[in-house]
């Protein structure tokens, strides 16, 4: 499995971070979260993240991961 990580999506709440990570891991895709500085809000904070948090997955699993997240039809 490639160790290069690619940006999958950006989400705007701690709850979405948890859900998406769990969904990906359940599908066998490791996920990294970048930009969610929990700071004073504590590890369990599930509220809004004003500037969003980026979810990264291994490049080799990017296409498969994309099929697991919603996209706005253009």
């Amino acid at each position: 499995m490639s160790e290069q990580w690619a940006l999958l999506t950006k989400v705007f709440s701690g709850l979405e971070v948890d859900t998406l990570r769990a969904t990906l891991e359940e599908e066998g895709i490791p996920a990294l979260v970048r930009g969610f500085g929990v700071g004073m809000f504590g590890g369990g904070f599930q509220g809004p993240i004003n500037d969003g948090a980026e979810i990264l997955v291994p490049e080799s699993a990017l296409e498969r991961a994309r099929n697991l997240i919603p996209e706005l039809d253009e």
Partner: protein, 808 residues
Amino acid sequence: MRLARQDLRLAVRSFTRHRSFTAVAVLSLGLAIALNATMYSVIDALVNPQIDMQAPERLYRLIIWGDYKGKVDNATRASMLRTGMGLYEGLASSSGGGFNTIGVEHGRRYAQVARSVVSPNLFAVLGVHAMAGRLFSDADFVGGAQPVVISDRLAGTLFPDDESPVGVPISIDGTKHVVLGVLGRGANFPGDHVDVWTLPPPTTQLSAIPSNVVRLRKGIAKADAERALSVLSARMAMLSGESPKDVRIQLKPSVEGQFHYVRFHYALIGAVVAVLLIACANLANLQLARGIGRSRELALRAALGASRRDIVVQLLVESAVLAGVGLALGLLLTFWGTHVLESRIPPSVAEYVIAPQTSWRVLVFAMIACVVCVILVGLLPAIHVSRVDPNVLLKAGAGTGANKKNRRQYGVMVVAEIGLSLALLSAAAIVVRTAFQVRQVHVGYDLAPLTDTWVYRPALKDTVVRHVALANEVLSTVRALPNVAEAALYRFRSVVRNAVTVIDDAGASIEIPAPAVGYRIVTPSYFKTFGLPIVKGRDFLDGVPAEPEVIVDKATARALWPNSNPVGARIKLGDFSSTVPWARVVGVVGASERPDGVVGPALTRTPDIRAIYYLPVASDSTRTAARNFVYQVVTRAKSDPQRMPVEMLASIRQLHPDAYVSSHSMEESLGILRRRQSHDFVASTFMVFAALAVSLAALGIYGIVAHSVAERTRELGVRIALGASARDVVGVILREGNAVALAGVAVGLYLTKNTVAWLHAFSVEGDEYDAPLFAAMALALFLVAVLSALIPALRATRIDPVESLRSE
């Protein structure tokens, strides 16, 4: 031994004679030791978390990475994993936690917690025991009663009066389940966030659930097990049609040491150590002063044949007795302090501070603190006093006062006390100021009646969800609730390819980078529900617009259309080449519902582009993916908003029975409550530290000046006899004290400058360097020091010169 007993008797007699000194000394030491031991018990709980699992080093989570789902069915996977039984002595499964929120009720008590669905043998594999009742067995699974195990934390919430929850039915999402047992914090799995454990539905075929928790056999290393499991992953890859390198089985330790010291921990440790040092310096000063004050007694002992060692031992025994009693009091206060602290720690500071745990390590720590005190308080002053020549000591009483050298030695320690106190006082001022700032913050609308509900709805992949149809369905259900005054639905989206496109005044399209901007897809009732005013243009109208409409907040309007009226302008929520539709701006809202610096973790953000709201047209839709379709509902309650989350959970679950739902007050959902609680907690903690430090320092200054006045009685008597006024006498004494206090303030400002950054996480936007505030604290501490010195100085003005000269 006889001499030691004699020294002990002497010490006890001496302390009984000087009750005030003894009380002050024991109380200062006890408080300082208790503060240190309590804080140590918190750090200890973070560094060495209590784990009540049997041989936790052999417990692992089994994770399979790779594209095998849908290609190898669960039953096959479960059966393949069982073939590795030579490696492990137990296999179990656990799923959920984190976002799998459920509503739990008992009587009038309600909690929203995370649940984990586990195999009946999970707790046996973990090797944990119930705190009360019992844990699952196979019989519970086949029995069909669907009992639950709950955490002691949830038991405390639902059964606050120490009533046993065992055997009592509680309601989970409206269905009754009997509590089978209670699990303690050290047995919590798969993490500290889970509060309810349930079994899979009785119709589940257990053998078809792939295990994800393993206990390795004794003597089998993780690396060996992973190597052996690679055979399984290769078989799985073959069955999946994947390359063997793309499917991998990983064993992750179930219990990982994840604690890392951060700057705030250094601030906590520094603060309590400072209090201990202040207490020690204070007592050392008092002992020194007392030792010198007892110079004639010690000189007499020396003259009668006591060696220097005997005098040192006597003074050390006195200090040890003091420290021993201080330790006993300290341990008592630690016991009380840990209970008080435990009941006051908000979950929002769990990263820094968790419930303290008492262990043998805390006792050892308290004893070490005590030994440090004996050395600082007893040994150094004892050696100093014992060095003095008895002849000089005996003659000293005939002079006019104590020598300056002695007073300078007290002064050094008072400088240290004031310096440490100022650093603590400044730290407390910073966190208290921030706590006030957080409390004063207004979001611009009334949060109290609002409830925010998050819905995660399982949906088949590639299902197209129409926003308008979804909103109609959800809102008609929610608005039917008798307590709902208004409701709106919204979703967050990212702009396409990190940019927005607008048409400028000349009619040209301009692409503006917006890497950190998300916009909300909303329903027309959104601003009415929040109570946010439209300051320009109009609100979204009821019904579905012919073309997509957008409302922006004032900051965004200024950033995107600096020289023209934004109302009527066109915007595309994507880059220039994206095919997202153009939308028309119809209004400007006074402020965002999530104003800057008020809610949510503050990270880097795109300057000025803050809030964009998008009203979709009938054809706007989202292509869903498996188990990840999210929407939110905001509701305004007519009355009793506390009850609203329960009503929303029930209502949404009725509409979407398979959805994960989480519902909280808006204040909680925006993180405002957590932020306030965490700042209040840290502020009150540092206020205790600072109050103790300043009181001890004030006491120290008072003690030293009082002692100095007593020593200089003859000198002051002579001065008064020669015509010195009360003002002159106060001036003489305060001049000495002021120099010490000013030196202490200088040291304190230096310490503050170099340590205040440790509180960065609990200041607002990195503004912990506040020179005027530090100057004010320095002035306040200086005034405390002057007042402490003034009391004995005023007393000195009442010295009768005749009496003072006759007393010797």
